[in-house]
């Protein structure tokens, strides 16, 4: 089955808004009609199995284009609008993409990379019945003439679920991002599991502060569409009061965030903990380890709200494990166990499950495991072996099978939940002719979890911190720009000539 058809199977004609929020809202039938219109147009102009880029923040435009591209049998490649032009050029080139759906304010910057660009105003001009604006406050009106056209667009149950639905680019251990290929079947499998353990229903309404170009954000979209729930879009998380007000105004039943969301809202807002959210049923946290004190602070302030600690990877569509909220006090610090349909194990070097207390690598099998890395069979073969995804994360288990991560993706830095590759930043900085060497490390940060620090060796003294920042700003997206820059005489290396980042971390903590 096509994922879009699966998502809308029971919800396409619900008489309610699917997206709400301060900026825009749209009903299920109106959204479904836009999705069908976009899909039909793409079939006409592009056929199938083309890679189509989608660049934008969360919006009705993004959601309609995302589902429309997937429904058309083409492959959606969602991208952060803050991406640098060079990195985007690389992705466009690798995908051979000709078409981009790009939100208006980014069109000027990125359109030269595409043969054809569609912004927010485009879908209304696609041939189809009863042209209407994509986002409409008057969603009741939009529902009236929606049925005939939508019924014309067939629900393709025969669609092969092993076909690619999307490619999500994520930082790899090399400088270039790697594309995670997800099939329609992957999306369906993970959606089913998440709905089951979160017990989601049509009554659920989630406050969305996570971007839809990120797998965690997408999982919120997928699950809520499938159950006929609704999503409140908020792209200004740092305006904490808007989040608090959304939760109240829209009577949200759920909230999802990465560690920095919880750290910021608990630490920066005095009001949050004192506010009552009578409709809030649960919150979920993934995307890195939230320090235990914050989990306790949250659950003490909101004892009636279920707190789900979860773990996952883009390579697994999104989700791999969760810790049932009732187990949180007894198993605090654990990421729980595999979600329904996923076998999550900690394996030793011989490929056998570890004994309690022993450390091994987390590996997973299930319908949500990616098809592979785009155009990288070697890396795919190293990552998926015997049908199991090897996550690169090290962990252990207790007597009851609850998993604890001991070392997470060592080579990455997690800035506000976003996986950042030190190598990518290093390779940009060393392009400056005055730079001899550069090493990037993550340093603890109260709000972002980790912040980026650059240790740089230069020849001569003319290069200043500002020059480094300026150069990075030109070539990297904002999360990848170092917060700290320090010039040193040389980068410490081990006897074998490997850079010893651990010593830089010591250097930093000794100085602070």
């Amino acid at each position: 089955m096509n994922f879009t058809d699966y998502a809308f199977e029971a919800s396409a004609f619900l008489d309610k808004d699917v997206i709400v929020g301060n900026a825009e809202q749209i009903s299920y039938p109106a959204l479904y009609r836009e999705v069908c219109r976009i899909a039909a147009h793409l079939n006409r102009i592009a056929g199938e199995d083309q890679k189509i880029l989608l660049i934008g923040e969360n919006s009705v435009f993004f959601v309609a284009a995302y589902l429309g591209i997937i429904k058309s049998g083409n492959v959606c490649v969602p991208v952060n609008p803050a991406i640098g032009a060079e990195a985007l050029a690389h992705i466009v080139g690798q995908c051979g993409a000709k078409i981009g759906f790009i939100q208006k304010r980014a069109v000027e910057k990125f359109s030269p990379l595409f043969e054809q660009v569609f912004d927010e105003s485009a879908p209304a001009t696609f041939p189809g019945q009863a042209p209407t604006t994509l986002a409409t406050r008057n969603s009741q009106l939009a529902t009236q003439d929606s049925k005939p056209e939508a019924q014309n667009s067939k629900l393709e149950t025969a669609f092969n679920p092993s076909r690619l639905a999307e490619i999500l680019f994520t930082s790899g251990s090399t400088a270039l991002p790697k594309g995670v290929m997800l099939t329609h079947g992957n999306l369906i499998a993970n959606t089913e599991s998440i709905i089951e353990y979160l017990n989601l229903s049509e009554a659920d309404r989630i406050e969305v502060v996570l971007p839809f170009y990120y797998c965690f954000g997408l999982s919120l979209l997928h699950t809520h569409l499938r159950v006929g729930g609704s999503l409140v879009l908020n792209n200004t998380f740092m305006m904490l009061n808007t989040v608090i007000e959304d939760l109240q105004t829209y009577q949200c039943t759920g909230f999802s965030g990465v560690p920095s969301h919880y750290q910021i809202i608990l630490r920066k807002s005095r009001r949050f903990k004192e506010t009552k959210f009578p409709h809030l049923r649960y919150v979920t946290q993934a995307g890195g380890k939230l320090p235990v004190p914050f989990i306790k602070e949250f659950t003490e302030a909101f004892p009636e709200v279920k707190f789900y600690v979860m773990y996952g990877q883009t390579e697994a569509t999104a989700r791999l494990s969760y810790l049932p909220p009732e187990m949180l006090p007894a198993k605090i610090g654990s990421i729980g166990r595999g979600i329904p349909g996923v076998k999550l194990e900690v394996l030793n070097k011989a490929g056998q499950p570890v004994k309690p207390g022993e450390v091994g690598e987390l590996s997973a099998s299930g319908g949500n495991i990616m098809a592979g890395y785009f155009q990288d069979p070697e890396l795919t073969a190293r990552t998926i072996r015997n049908g199991k995804l090897f996550t690169g994360d090290l962990g252990t288990v207790d007597e009851e099978g609850y998993i604890y991560i001991v070392a997470r993706e060592k080579e990455f830095i997690k800035v506000g939940g976003e996986r950042v590759s030190p190598k990518e930043i290093e390779e940009v900085i060393v392009r400056l002719p005055e730079v001899v060497d550069c090493s990037i490390i993550g340093v603890p940060d109260d709000l972002l979890g980790e912040a980026i620090k650059a240790y740089i060796v230069v020849n001569g003294k003319n290069l200043k911190e500002n020059d480094i920042i300026a150069y990075c700003t030109q070539h990297l997206s904002s999360t990848k720009i170092p917060k700290y820059v320090e010039f040193i005489d040389k980068i410490p290396v081990s006897a074998t000539g490997k850079k010893e980042k651990a010593r830089l971390v010591e250097l930093h903590s000794a100085a602070t």
Binding site: N235, M238, N241, I264
Partner: protein, 80 residues
Amino acid sequence: MDVKTEIRNYLYSERFKNEFAKLGDDDSLLERGIIDSVKMLDLIGFLEQKFNVTVDDDDLYPENFDSLNAITAYVGQRIK
């Protein structure tokens, strides 16, 4: 230097500047993508340090931070 000039200089500093060519005093920083959550933290840190004010969480509304003029007016109130 007056408050507005200080803030303008900050917005034109290396960390921000390639995001925009020329910034009108009332242009929306959020809509133009100049401020995301990471930069918002940076901005709050700058305002607190530079003008010795406390950015109260009750003030975290777009109206207070969405343009050069809005930020200037907000800081002006806090200084008094």
